[in-house]
Point group: C2
Chain length 359, copies 2
């Protein structure tokens, strides 16, 4: 089969056979791809999560090399499992493919999927191949094992709001893509678009954060061993929107100290080029796939030790407080109400988000 | 929220909140919808399968009332678990929705999903909501428990080819939809299309077989208790295509005796109206979601007893034989080569299927 052959010419069954031949077996896989269902060894408690990347909504084919798309499709699900302090073990992938898409695209996507799976000890155990009229859809489900879960519901008033890593790089990467910057399938800069040559250093980390995120998986999993964190979730929709979600689940309010935000330095450099402000990206921009946690003040040092082991940086950015779910920005002694701006996929634009009506 | 409000106006988070409020908790669900991942109690062996319904490929919105679509999206996955002799326990659903689709569609789909889940003891534990440009995609993943699995690989030469139920009704139902016949959301005939009044009796069972299939779930699961069946799979792509798959997995050939095929009587009546032949639908038509099994001749009576308990009919339709994967039709002493005709979703048409090249 030639790489440029459209999948419609190859046919569904031949393509399934081809992809199946690429998937290695893995530990705990009793029945892998090729039967009615896969059968895998699990512990008494199984974590399950699904996340979908839809062409035109979550990615563009001309922006995402297929290998990076495959890596990201898995990573966004791994992030969910890690945010529960779980260990991802198995994955299934449902692909919807337009008939004119070339084999090279599907193989590239599988290159990334299988590579990322190997890096993280995950076995691909099945999935589904469907036609679609004109859009690629990648829907993945990941199964994991868990024991001491960290949920969204356990936050207490007085807990500190803590995030891993830096914020805003993925959103800055999205802006860079809009301005013509591109990565190739190896994750190297292939086009700097409208950016001057001296911006290239900041471009690559931001583009990678957007196209090939690296959630702090080992750190998340390590939280199962510790009794440090009251509540956690991953940052997929942006700090403001996700913090409001954590407030809603834990029935708390929260404030953020703007000066404490770990604004990504590459995002800051890129935004400066265009006269923009990376603070807003760090506060509202999505897809950082860092972790957001509610941590009692006396346990922050212990958490820093765990983070150090896994080379993860931590930032205290605010505090949870009693009261109806809602957010504030703290300026010295003054509090100003903060309205989360989350991306609304249906509306296709940013939508100011009102707190959920009380139940 | 008014039923006709487009989901794009409601917004992603409000819709998630609404759907979440509709999902009951269930046995074994430690963490249900609303966290980063669900956590469910499982046995040491977990079955996992995914199947996708894509608008324009697997269904049309004007043909499938949303309630029946929700039922079918779950049923096709339940069928896969039952064909492994497993028990379905949990499900996740990933929905891609165009922004202009009304809330009533999503609620109808959830009506069917939740109703079918309750009928079969399955708990909906999570999923994902995405926008799409203009097509609905329903991708479901079902987790089940299994112990004594029945796989596709265990067939032996001399085993009889056995199917449950009747064949061809779902394909006849698809033809009826093409000719304007319709069911309403309750599964009752709302339009008989081009069909005469006296065909209505045959129409409804065929339309239901297509839009709301009923796989023999309890019978499939019961096979875990027995050591009767060497290999099994569900009939989703049509007897000829699926039997060739079973041959490939078990490294056998097989013949079918045309007169033994349990042609669905309603399909036969409908085809007769239009001068067609239901035999071809029973042989090649897909989506019957019956079971196809390899059964040693001396165990067929024992299998009939199990089938009787679950009110399932069985038909011996042929036999497996040594040799390279391939199919024949037997006419008395003569064998004629049978080429499977399976629907190829990518090609958008029936494609004659060649056996897989030998490994």
């Amino acid at each position: 089969m030639e790489p440029q052959t459209p999948v419609g010419e190859i046919g569904e069954r031949a393509l399934i056979r081809h992809l199946r031949s690429r998937i290695p077996s893995g530990p705990g896989v009793i029945v892998g791809v090729g039967d009615d269902a896969a059968a895998v060894e699990t512990g008494p408690l199984t974590l399950v999560t699904s996340d979908t990347l839809v062409e035109g909504i979550h990615f563009r084919r001309e922006w995402s090399p297929p290998r990076l798309l495959g890596r990201k499709a898995l990573s966004v699900n791994l992030s969910d499992v890690a945010a529960m302090a779980g260990l991802a073990r198995y994955a299934t992938v449902s692909l919807c493919l337009p008939p004119d898409i070339p084999l090279a695209f599907v193989d590239g996507l599988y290159d990334g999927l299988l590579e990322r799976a190997a890096e993280t000890g995950v076995s691909l155990v099945g999935g589904n191949l469907s036609a679609s009229e004109d859009r690629v859809v990648v829907d993945m489900t990941v199964l994991g094992q868990g024991d001491h879960l960290v949920r969204r519901t356990g936050g207490l008033a007085g807990d500190l709001v803590v995030v891993t890593g830096t914020l805003g790089a993925a959103a800055a990467g999205l802006r860079a893509l809009e301005k013509g910057a591109r990565l190739d399938g190896d994750g190297d800069l292939s086009n700097r678009g409208a950016w001057p040559a001296d911006a290239a250093d900041g471009l690559v980390p931001c583009l990678r954060a957007q196209l090939d995120p690296s959630p702090p998986l080992a750190f998340g999993r390590a939280l199962a061993e510790q009794d440090i964190v009251h509540a956690a979730m991953d940052l997929s929709d942006g700090l403001s929107g996700d913090l409001l979600s954590l407030c809603e689940e834990s029935e708390l309010s929260a404030w953020i100290e703007p000066e404490w935000l770990p604004v990504d330095p590459c995002a800051a450099a890129l935004e400066k080029e265009t006269g923009g402000d990376a603070f807003s990206l760090a506060l509202h921009g999505g897809e950082d796939y860092q972790m957001l946690m509610a941590v009692p003040p006396e346990r922050v040092d212990a958490l820093r030790e765990v983070a150090g082991v896994w080379s993860v940086t931590l930032s205290v950015v605010g505090q949870f407080a009693p009261g109806a779910p809602g957010l504030s920005l703290r300026f010295g002694e003054a509090m100003r109400k903060l309205r989360p701006k989350s991306h609304d996929h249906f509306a296709g634009r940013e939508r100011r988000r009102e707190p959920a009506p009380e139940a």
